[in-house]
């Protein structure tokens, strides 16, 4: 049984956290691993949508979420947070993006700040599972189809009309019964 570390307080992330980190292939050890993740975090903040190996994307997602949540929590005047952002973001103009663009964007979010989708594999070249990692609220067209588009599909049209007909029938019944009551 370990004791929880209490020296610093963190915000809860709204994503699933793996119990253990996933190993990435990197000969330089744990430091190399962070360097690798740093590149993808940087690219995520730059391009807002990436296609990656699933493992790398899943790992990157946690770090990106943590960085954004720290930025939201402490703001740009907090020195340790700025140091952290300085470490994780290699292109320094993106630090401004983090504090000036992403923090206002995600300030009121009740959901996670990123989305992770499984992407199809291009058989037979790529054998590793692929995925798409993106920041929410990005300017690109949505990856998943919009539910509202399916309104006009034939079954939905039929169901809508069936609902209307059912309601009309019920209303008729109600008015009839009311009239009967009045007559009595």
């Amino acid at each position: 049984m370990n004791q929880a570390e209490v020296s610093q307080l963190v915000s809860k992330l709204r994503i699933r956290i793996n119990p253990r980190h996933k190993n990435l292939k990197c000969p330089e050890g744990p430091q190399g691993r962070l360097n690798k993740l740093r590149k993808t975090v940087n690219a995520l903040f730059k391009y807002e949508r990436l296609e990656l190996n699933y493992t790398l994307a899943d790992e990157t997602r946690g770090y990106a979420e943590r960085l954004i949540s720290e930025a939201i929590r402490h703001g740009d005047t907090h020195k340790p947070t700025m140091e952290m952002a300085d470490y994780w973001i290699e292109e320094k103009q993106l630090i401004h993006k983090l504090f000036k663009v992403l923090v206002p964007r995600f300030n009121d979010y009740q959901t996670s700040y990123t989305m992770l989708y499984r992407a199809p594999k291009a058989y037979p070249e790529i054998v590793y599972p692929r995925s798409v990692l993106e920041l929410r609220g990005n300017p690109f067209p949505a990856i998943l189809p919009q539910r509202s588009d399916q309104r006009n599909f034939i079954h939905n049209v039929l169901l809508d009309e069936a609902k209307k007909a059912y309601r009309a029938e019920k209303y008729e019944e109600i008015t009839k019964s009311l009239e009967e009551q009045r007559d009595e």
Binding site: N152, V157, L158
Partner: protein, 341 residues
């Protein structure tokens, strides 16, 4: 009088008494000769029209959409949107039901292209709105229903197809009006409806193409000489069309008048059930209105939700009676293409 045919399905043998009129055999064709004659005429006309194309000219067809934008060089008056789809992707061949030309004209999958155009394909999940596909699908369902009805009954009952109203998906059911001789009072049983539904699905699964042919009034009259209703309708239709032609559709050996457009192939029909047959009293005598509901093959629906649709489709579809107004087979703007906008 014994009405049962010799090859009943075993499935229904337990409830024989309820299956009185609907033929359970696939072999009984009461009007085989007439059908052969009709098809002969249709084939000849089709052949004549093909030969009339003459020297082959090329047209460029631009396809816009998934999997990629393509420019094709096709044969004028011969190549159809279906051929274009075959050049592009199998997925398009399988799912497309309708083509959209220059973003304005709806075009049948098997109707030859006539000039340079831009082409897109519509399917059941076409975005932003599959409205036109749904209409064409509903119309095609009526047509298939007509084909099934014409073969479903035993020899002593002569179904005479009347017509079907303009397709309206919102009405909840597709419809075909038929006169049944020798059957003044008929209320179909559950099993009879089930057999009709099964016949419909079986028919659809044979993957018949919807062949389109515009013919002259005389030929149309010749083809429908045995059908008193159609004979009446043909001159009307021809008059109202701009080029005095009547558009016919053929699936398997069943020929029908309709303005179109239709879907490309019967195998797009997925789940289907014939839910009710209502008796109508019109000035043409007693007609039976066959009603059904159906979903395209790639639309999945929970069985409970589907049962709701079936329940609704049992109620009488109040679409225009045949004598109330013009019906779909002879609307005034007959040969003008239905536009998408």
């Amino acid at each position: 009088m014994k009405r049962f045919s010799s090859c009943l399905y075993k499935k229904y043998s337990g409830s024989l008494c309820s299956i009185k009129y609907v033929s359970t055999s696939a072999n009984i064709h009461p009007k085989t000769e007439i059908v052969a004659y009709q098809n002969n005429l249709f084939d000849n006309e089709q052949k004549r029209q093909r030969e009339a194309v003459g020297r082959i000219e090329k047209i460029t067809v631009k396809y816009i959409g998934v999997p990629e934008n393509v420019t094709l060089s096709m044969n004028k008056g011969i190549s159809t949107p279906f051929h274009c789809a075959q050049h592009i992707s199998e997925m398009l061949v399988k799912r497309s039901g309708l083509a959209l030309i220059d973003e304005t004209h709806l075009w049948d999958m098997h109707r030859p292209l006539e000039s340079d155009c831009e082409l897109t394909f519509m399917h059941a999940q076409y975005l932003p709105d599959p409205y036109h596909f749904n209409r064409a699908y509903w119309r095609s369902c009526s047509l298939i229903l007509g084909a099934v009805i014409s073969k479903a009954f035993k020899t002593d009952i002569q179904p005479t197809l009347h017509s079907f109203p303009s397709p309206n998906v919102k009405s909840g059911s597709f419809v075909y009006d038929v006169e049944l001789s020798n059957l003044p009072e008929w209320a179909p049983t559950e099993n009879e409806l089930r057999i009709l539904s099964a016949n419909m699905v079986k028919f659809a699964q044979k993957s018949y193409k919807f062949e389109r042919l515009a013919v002259s009034e005389e030929l149309a009259l010749d083809i429908f000489q045995e059908n008193k209703f159609k004979k009446e309708q043909v001159p009307n239709i021809a008059q109202q069309s701009i080029d005095k032609k009547v558009v016919l559709y053929r699936i398997d050996d069943h020929i029908e008048i309709s303005r179109g457009p239709m879907i490309g192939n019967t195998d797009l029909l997925g789940r289907c059930s014939i839910t009710a047959v209502h008796r109508l009293d019109t000035k043409n005598g007693h007609l039976y209105r066959f009603q059904g509901v159906s979903l395209p093959v790639n639309i999945m629906l929970n069985h409970f939700a589907y049962s709701l649709l079936e329940q609704r489709a049992k109620k009488l579809n109040a679409a225009r009676w045949v004598d109330q107004a013009q019906n779909d087979t002879y609307v005034p703007q007959f040969s003008r293409e239905e536009t998408a906008v």
